[in-house]
Amino acid sequence: MTSGRDVRDILGLPVGGDPQKTSTQRKPKPAATVRRIQGVAREVAALYGERPPPVAVYEEKKTYRAKRQSTGPAKKWIQQPFMNQARTDGLVLKHWRRKRTNAPPAQDGEDTAMEDGENTEPYIESCGDFAKYNITADLPTFTDEEYDTHLRSDDWSREETDYLFELVQAYSYRWAVIWDRYDYQPSTKSHLAQETTNGDTSQALAALPFALPRQRSVEDLKARFYDISAKLMKLRIPEMQMDADQYSTYETLTKFDPVLERNRKTLAAALMNRNMDEVKEEEFLLAELQRINMAANRLDAEREELRARLDAPVPNPQLSAGLASFTSSQALQALFSQLFQQDRSKKRASGAGPGPGRLSISASDLIATPSSAQAQISANRRQSMAQPPIQTPVKQLSPPQEYRFNVSTHERLTSGVTFGSDKLLKMRQAKSNVQTQKIAAALAELGISEVISIPTSKVGEVFEQLVTKVGKLLDVRKVREKEEGECRVLQAMKERRASEVQQDGTNADDAAHSNTTLTPGAKQVIPDSQESPDRDEDGEDEDAEGDADADADADGEVDVDAEGEEDDEDAEGEEESTRQVSEAMSTRGQSASAGHKRSASVLSQASNKSSKRARK
């Protein structure tokens, strides 16, 4: 076995004087363990060793409820008689309460005797804990005079009104319950009436207008009550002096319309009493509506996108070559990526091949944040340091020079040789046959021959721009046709509805005249249907005036506007490109573009005309 000495020897510690040291070390130990943690068994505490436990130890005493201390005899509970403050009749009930210990503890021995003594003269507790639940509803009150001068009604007797108020009070404005319990029996008169009804009904009826208890609906009850409340409120506080709250209450009281309420309820009831098929149908229709809405949203989004595209034409890098255009961060970013692309293509051209030097950069990296782009560039730099590129002296040409010498740099060169005329031909081709034909027709209209005699790269560029614009033009045309079609359909619908409304109106009026009680449905239809055409017409007027900020509802209008603008823009763009071409090229191109310009404006005029036609 290894002794302590061996260990020391291994560890290279000094050997001498150990025994003393250990003994001195041992001494303080027991002193440390004296500070024992309370509430922990000694054996457990020993397990902690010298250090305190990493987890705080709670002492038993503090965490648990103290054991019940049995001091003295058991506490006494008695059935304490008590009175409820909310009661006026002095009903005494008993509940269990701790016996009150008034007597000093010294008299404990006499306790039993005392108890009997107390019982003979019982203490009655007054219990108000629950009195707060005894609430009654506030009710407007009126005097006889007030009733006579302001509140009289042909339909309601004074007795019945009082009865109504009584019920409202009793059932705290729960109208459903009030109506359920409403059973007004005209008092003394009615007894007479009922007796007489056996003999001569008509006489009794004539003599006593309130002889037969009539069936009143909730709305009747509410109408009467609200009417009285409103009148009383006005009497107490003149309208002018009401504060906002009071006035709004007053307003709701006066605005109560029993007919409307009744109609609402019949509708609600009808809604509830639908059968399974109707519910299913409604569900189906709702789903359909949602689908249509979603489609409409999509359509709107598409239009929006188209508009956005037309509003902001793609910047022409060739035109804005000057440094001045690189002011915005976005432009800088674009420049970065452009440079980077050039760099990369150069490298590829230099024949680095798929070696380790190749950077794997995806397009997404390029459109990431500038910092990342920078990182890429710095990485690139590092790359170039590690692998010194083959320096080929390149003479930098300024753009005008480049232009003059017809020098062009290519990001990527396709292998092989292609004809410029082939390129142009390819541009004429669209995805679909129809589109191709349309493009051809448009180009023919502009007077551009099918074969362009000298298809230089610049001519190709210009031609490309022209074709993209033609494409846009065609898009716009298509949209316009669609809108016009929609306008036509809506117009037809509107007309049809207008004629229907007229018929309905007359019918409903007839019904209203013939039957006053059964008009709810018709009446509700009338205002609605009258309202909506009005609104439509308003919108139309605005459109006709040519307000630019027409409602979003007037789809056609907005779109047509946008179209017109776009056409103008097209013309502008065309002008610019025309200038270019004219500088470089023959007069032929000039005439062609001029023709284009003219026709574009003609087109836009035509579209404006047509849109105006559509509006009318």
Binding site: N84, L93, K94, A176, K265, M272
Partner: protein, 468 residues
Amino acid sequence: MNIPNSSTAPAPGEYAGDEVSAIVLDPGYSTTRAGFAGEDVPKSVCPSFYGQIDADSSSQYLFGENAIHTPRANLQIKNPWGADGIVEDWETATKIWEYAITSRLTGTKPSDPTKNGLNDGTNANGDAMDVDMDAVENQEKPLEDSPLLVTEPGWNSAKAREKYIEIAMEEWGTPAFYLQKTGVLAAFASGKASGIIIDVGASHTSVTPVLDGMVLRKGVQKSPLAGNFVSNQIRLIFKQSQPEVPLTPHYMVKSKTQVDAGAPAQAIYRNFDVPPTDSFRRYEEERVLTEFKESVVEIWPGPGRLSNTGNEDIAKSMPGRPFEMPDGWNQVFGAERFRPAESLFDANAAIQDSENPRPKDEQTIPRLVQAAVQHVDADQRPLLLQNIVVTGGSTLLYKFNDRLNYEINSIYPSTRNKLIAPGQVVERKYAAWIGGSILASLGSFHQLWISRKEYEEHGANIVEKRCR
């Protein structure tokens, strides 16, 4: 610090409880439930049937489970309830109720609390031991010390209501009294203040719309298609089946031997010098039928009615349920077990004979619910349909809730309908009592009691004013 346990009182704000040792009495056609408010089950459940033996001049009455099931000569079994679901024979009804209260709760003659044995096991009978010694001397009325809450059916007549308070005040001497409808209380037991309460008991099925703890009287519907009706349907099925199913009550059988399914019973029957009366036999048969209802009868759960095409076949294909009569006769019941209760939902399915005509369509449960909802203000209907409380012993029929749910959803497909049916048998059977127990133990209820003084001042018709 204060860990709540069964012996610590809940905090005062926790529930508005303040018990005054009130007694809650829930009399029904088949059983009468009584117990102290604040407890969760009625301590005393007695049959509402009573035995009567007519001697020469006077007649002897027998109350309680133990007394009325023993066959005795000339023992007649009667029930104080009338056919309309309102008590008819007030005199004996009072005695039965008094028996229900005194036999288990207050004790007939309070003796010294240390000696009367009430304190041996339980301490819930506490109030009996705390009767003042002074009061004992002049107390001959059973309820001198306890306020009383009684339940009543939703269609109780004004006269019957007055009778209740008269009995409680005059005969039982209660210091305070209150009358509440079973529907409201059943809703309370489920923690609802508003809802539609469907109570399928023994003699009546009732549908009660309740709004904010108040019965909407116009909407209360009742019909006799309930437990007794189902029992009757079973009798008819037994009678009409080939061969007839013998219905022998327990008391007639001395010993039985096992026989094959469908084979005639081989049992030794008892001989009586004076055979017990028909009413006794019928009552004992009823017990067998209740057993049959509990263990065999099933309700077609939907979709559709049992009579719909295809459903009978499905019912036939389901495994049957065996049942053995007290005399050993036994049989596996297949599709027949769906028939007795089907007419609760479909009047056409009722088994008829000359004495038992076809029930009316309006008496079926779905139609009752519809009628009840129809009589409620349109605005409240959806709210009520969200709280459909199901209670009463006969709703324990197997698959009752499935069917009810199906039926209600097919009447009102566009609203959110929710059935609230306590899963516990006790809560379902005694919902009205439990609701009463909750209500009468509330501190805020102290203000509602009709006190003796008020009764003496205003007379019996104070119930009309106070117990709305």
